[in-house]
């Protein structure tokens, strides 16, 4: 018996059956091995049969399948959602590309300005070097 299985007695078997119903696959995994063993014995089998009868009563509430047009509609909705999702992805890649281009332009401009800056001396203007004239 694996570490995740736990033995149960008939009283516990009854309690679990009354909780989950007759399908042992729905029961907590650790009691399923022990439950199947008990279900093969007369006491457990009769408990399970009583729950199976009640499950059959619950199963009288059936649901109709959705109409074929609705199924087609779901498929179309899913396909559109994927297309929209890809459209959004493309939009983001375009935005990232534009941002990269802009940041490149800004970096280039700033780099050029920084390269020119050291040659600039205080007092220099586009009209000439006023300090030099004053000194002379």
């Amino acid at each position: 018996m694996s570490p995740s299985t736990q033995p149960i007695d008939l009283a516990q078997f009854k309690a679990v059956a009354e909780t989950y119903g007759s399908d042992i696959n729905r029961w907590p995994s650790e009691v399923q091995v022990s439950a199947r063993l008990l279900a093969s014995r007369p006491g457990g089998a009769s408990i399970l049969q009583a729950e199976a009868d009640f499950d059959a009563v619950l199963d009288q509430w059936t649901m109709p399948l959705p109409s074929p047009p609705f199924r087609q509609q779901i498929a179309a909705t899913a396909a559109n959602s994927v297309r929209r999702s890809w459209g959004t992805t493309r939009y983001w890649w375009a935005a990232i590309g534009l941002a990269a281009a802009l940041s490149g332009a800004v970096t280039g401009t700033a780099g050029t300005a920084m390269f020119v800056m050291p040659q600039h001396v205080a007092g220099d203007t586009i009209f000439g070097d006023f300090d030099d004239e004053g000194d002379n």
């Binding site: 009354e18 995994s29 509430w61 399948l65 779901i74 959602s81």
Partner: protein
């Protein structure tokens, strides 16, 4: 609150995050990861798998909760849209896809019910088998409506627990995850729900 005796059996497992649950879920993780990856890529087969599941299993769940075909269709469609949008961000091991989708449908349905402020038994969809003769179909329809009405009279959480485990055929761990409760709490809801239904429905059958 009624406690299920099973609680005493499983002392080492108080929540659905326990090891045993994780081991069971692992088998499904890879399949779900692959499916969601393919859905994100728009793979036709994966999309078919999702829509087939939505068109039967999820729709039935929504229809039972809401008791209204049109609302069930809307909720199912919304769940599909959310799955497709969420697919690129799907993370392995967080939940099973089936469980995740049921949680989405349950939350959307709860929102609708709150907006409507009426019970799911207000509109019971016709569900008799078309293969039966009219008299048998009518009897079956009446029986189905009795069960639907009885389930609809249960408190909300008990009703949801019964729907997930019995009608959606979910195991204990997955149903507890969808309801965001411990397994012990789920068992309490189920035990009380089934007991109430037995009293209601079996008493009715005996009267007939």
């Amino acid at each position: 609150m009624a406690r299920c005796p099973l609680t005493n059996v499983r002392a080492g497992r108080k929540t659905v995050d326990g090891d045993a649950v994780g081991q069971v879920a692992l088998n499904h993780d890879d399949q779900d990861d692959l499916l969601m990856k393919r859905i994100a890529q728009g793979h036709p087969r994966a999309m078919r798998e999702l829509t087939t599941m939505a068109g039967s299993r999820l729709y039935a769940f929504a229809a039972r909760i809401l008791g209204n075909n049109a609302d069930a269709e809307d909720v199912t469609q919304e769940a599909v849209i959310r799955a497709v949008r969420y697919a690129p961000r799907w993370q392995s091991g967080t939940a099973r896809l089936d469980t995740w989708l049921h949680s989405v449908v349950l939350n959307l349905s709860r929102d609708r019910l709150r907006k409507r402020q009426r019970t799911s038994t207000a509109e019971v969809p016709d569900s008799a088998d078309a293969a039966l003769n009219p008299e048998e179909a009518l009897i079956e329809l009446e029986r189905g409506q009795q069960v639907s009405a009885a389930v609809g009279q249960l408190p909300e959480r008990q009703r949801e627990a019964i729907m997930l485990v019995h009608y959606q055929d979910m195991n204990a761990a997955d149903a507890a995850r969808v309801l965001d409760v411990s397994i012990e709490a789920l068992e309490s809801l189920l035990a009380r729900g089934r007991r109430s239904l037995k009293q209601e429905l079996l008493a009715k059958e005996n009267r007939i």
